[in-house]
Amino acid sequence: MKKNKKGKKSDPAVSGLIDITRKKFRWSDYLAEKVIKGVAFLSITIVALIFIFVFRESLPIFKTEKAPVKTEATAETQETYGEVTDKPAAADVQETYGEVTDQSNNQAKVDSTSTSKADDSYTVSAGSGFDDNQSALKSLLTKEWVPVSEKPRYGILALIIGTFKVTIISMLFAAPLAILAALYTASFASRRMKEIIKPTIELLAGFPSVVIGFFALMVLASFLQNVFHYDTRLNAFVGGIAMGIAAIPIIFTITEDALTAVPKTFNEASLALGASKWQTAFFVILPAATPGIFAAVLLGIGRVFGETMIALMATGNAAQMGLNPFESVRTLAATIGAEMAEVVFGDTHYNVLFLIGSLLFIFTFILNAVAEFYVKGKLMKRIQGK
C-alpha cells in the first residue's frame, strides 16, 4: 500500500492504472471473503438453531399455566401419588412432587407397590385431569412410560435406565475390543497387516446403522439366544452388542490416532532402556495416550447413546426398569423414533418427545465438549512434557 502511494507521486498515470485494477480485485476479494466467512459461521448457527428449536418444542411442558380448579379436584381423586405422599391438598402435591423424588428413597417401595396396585383399580373417567402439562411434568420422574393411554404417564426414568444399560453393555463389548485392536495396529502390526486392518474397520464405519440393525435382528439375536439361552429374543444385550459393532470404528480410529501421536522418542527411550516391545506398548505408549483413548470412548458412548435405528430394531422396545441385561429395553432415541410419527403436533406427548430430544442433545454436547477441551489439553500436556 505504502509503496503504491509513493509510486503514485512519482508516476501518476501508471500507478493510477494499477490502482484501478487493484481496487477492482480487492472488491471481489473482499466480497468473497465476507461470503466465505458468513457461510463458515453457518455451522455455529446450525448448532445454535438445533438447540433452540429442539428445546423450543419441549417448552410447553414447563409452562406452569394455572390448571383449572376442576381438574385439580378430579386429579385428587385419581392421583395415586396423592395418596402415597399423604398430603391433603392436590395442589400441594403437584408442587412438591418434583422434590418428592428426593424423599422417595424411603418411600420408593411404598410408591412402586401402591402405584401398581392402584393401577388396576383406576377407574378412568373421561377427560381425566392428567392431560395438562403440569401433571405431565410431574410424571416425568416416575418409572412408567405409558404415553398412549387414557391416562398417559411420561416416566422417562425407565427410558434413561434402559439407555444407560444398553450403553454400558455396548461399551463393555466394544471399548476393549477396539482399543486392543488399535494397540495392535499401532504397535505390533506389520505394514501389510496395517493396510488390511485399517481400511476394513474404516469400512465398518460406513455401514448404515439400518444394516447393522437388520443383521442384529435377523442373525445376531438368534445366535446369541442359542449361546446364552435367555427368554426374550430381542433385549438390551443384543442391542448393546449391535451398537457396540457400530461404535467400534469410532473408538478404533480415534484410539489409533492417539497411539500414533505418541512421539517416537517415547518408544525409542523405552526400548533403549531394555523394555521389550509389548512392555513398551503396554506400559509406555498406552498410558501416554490415555486421554485420547478416553476421548475415543466418550465419543463411542455418544454414538451409542443417540443410536436410533439399531435400538428400534434390536432392543425389543419395552420400557422396563430391571437391571437384567437379557430384558427388553427401550432407549430414549428409539422412543423418539418410534413415537414421533404418531403423535399429534403440539400435544403433550409431542412436547415430551422433544424434551427427550433436548436431553439427548445436551448429553452428547457435553460429552463432545469434554472430549474436546479437557482431554485434548491433557493429551497435549502429557505428550509435550508439560
Partner: protein
C-alpha cells in the same frame, strides 16, 4: 534367563490378545457381509431393481426406494457440498489457526458430527416443517397446507445438515495437502487471495472435495433416523415429482419391512435383497472414498 523367557511368553500372549481383537472385529465384518450377501444374492435381479412393490409390499421390486434414495442424496449434496467446501476454505485459507472464531467453528463442526441423527430429525420437524414450512404456507398459500408437512425437500435439507461436517472435514484435509509454495507462487505472480483459492488451491484439492461428497452421499444414503418424520413414507404409489412430495428410501424400507409389516417371514427375501442393495451402494461409495483418501495422503507424504 527364566525371567526373560516368562516375559517372552507374556509378550506373545499379549500380542496374541491384541491381534485376536483385531481379527475378531474383522471376522464380525466378514460375517455380516457374508450373511447379507448370501441371503440377498438370489433376490437381486434387474426386475427387482426396476419394478414397484406389489401386493402390499410382499412382492415386486424396490425401484421407488432406490429412486427416492438417489433423489435425496442429490438434493442433499447440492446443498451440503458447496456450503461444506466454503466452510473448509474459510478454516484453512482465511481463519488464523488459533483464533477464537476458527476454534469455535471447528468445535461447532465436531459437535454437528456427534449430534445423534435422531436430533436432526427433530430439528427438521421443528424448524423446517413447523417453522419454515408453516410460515411459507401462511404467507404464500394463505394457510393452505403444502410445505408445512413432511416432504423430500425438508428431508434432504435435514440430511444436508447431518452430512455437512463430513464434507467439511474431508475438504479441509485435502486443502491442507496443497503445498504452500503453490499459494506463495500464485500470490507472488500478482493474483489476489480469492484468485489463488479459485484457480490454484481448489483445483489442487478436487479429489478431496470428491471424497467428501462420496462420504456424504454414503452417509446420507444409509441414515434413516433424520428422515423418519421429515419426509419418508412407508409406501407411495408414484415417484416423487416435486419438492413437496413424500418419498421412499432404501433404509426405511428395510426398517419397515422388518419391524412394521404383518408378514415378516414372507418378505424375508425382499428384506435381504434390499439390505444387500443398500450395503453394496454404501460399500462401493466408501471403498472409492477410501481409495481417494489414501491417494491424497500419499500425495501429502511424498
Amino acid at each position: 534367563m527364566i525371567k526373560s523367557f516368562k516375559n517372552n511368553i507374556k509378550g506373545i500372549l499379549i500380542e496374541g490378545l491384541t491381534l485376536s481383537s483385531a481379527l475378531l472385529i474383522i471376522a464380525i465384518i466378514v460375517v455380516m457381509i457374508t450373511v447379507i450377501v448370501v441371503g440377498g444374492k438370489d433376490q437381486i435381479s434387474w426386475e427387482f431393481l426396476t419394478s414397484f412393490p406389489e401386493d402390499g409390499m410382499t412382492k415386486g421390486g424396490i425401484f421407488p426406494a432406490i429412486y427416492g434414495t438417489a433423489l435425496l442424496v442429490i438434493i442433499m449434496s447440492v446443498v451440503a457440498v458447496p456450503f461444506g467446501t466454503i466452510t473448509a476454505i474459510y478454516l484453512t485459507e482465511y481463519a488464523k489457526e488459533h483464533s477464537i472464531i476458527a476454534k469455535t467453528i471447528r468445535f461447532a463442526v465436531r459437535t454437528l458430527a456427534v449430534i445423534p441423527s435422531i436430533i436432526y430429525g427433530l430439528f427438521g420437524l421443528g424448524f423446517f416443517i413447523k417453522f419454515v414450512g408453516t410460515t411459507m404456507d401462511n404467507t404464500f398459500l394463505g394457510g393452505q397446507l403444502k410445505w408445512g408437512q413432511p416432504n423430500i425437500l425438508w428431508a434432504s435439507l435435514t440430511m444436508a445438515l447431518l452430512t455437512l461436517p463430513v464434507v467439511i472435514v474431508s475438504v479441509e484435509e485435502a486443502l491442507k495437502t496443497v503445498p504452500n509454495d503453490l499459494r506463495a507462487a500464485s500470490l507472488a505472480l500478482g493474483a489476489t487471495k480469492w484468485q489463488t483459492i479459485w484457480k490454484v488451491v481448489l483445483p489442487g484439492s478436487i479429489s478431496g472435495i470428491m471424497t467428501g461428497t462420496i462420504l456424504a452421499v454414503s452417509r446420507g444414503a444409509g441414515e434413516v433416523a433424520p428422515i423418519l418424520f421429515t419426509g419418508v413414507a412407508y409406501y407411495v404409489a408414484t415417484l416423487p415429482a416435486s419438492f413437496s412430495d413424500q418419498f421412499m428410501v432404501l433404509g426405511y424400507h428395510i426398517y419397515v419391512m422388518t419391524t412394521q409389516s404383518a408378514n415378516v417371514d414372507q418378505t424375508l427375501p425382499i428384506q435381504f435383497g434390499t439390505t444387500l442393495v443398500l450395503l453394496m451402494l454404501t460399500f462401493i461409495l466408501n471403498i472409492s472414498a477410501i481409495i481417494l483418501r489414501y491417494r491424497i495422503r500419499k500425495k501429502k507424504t511424498t
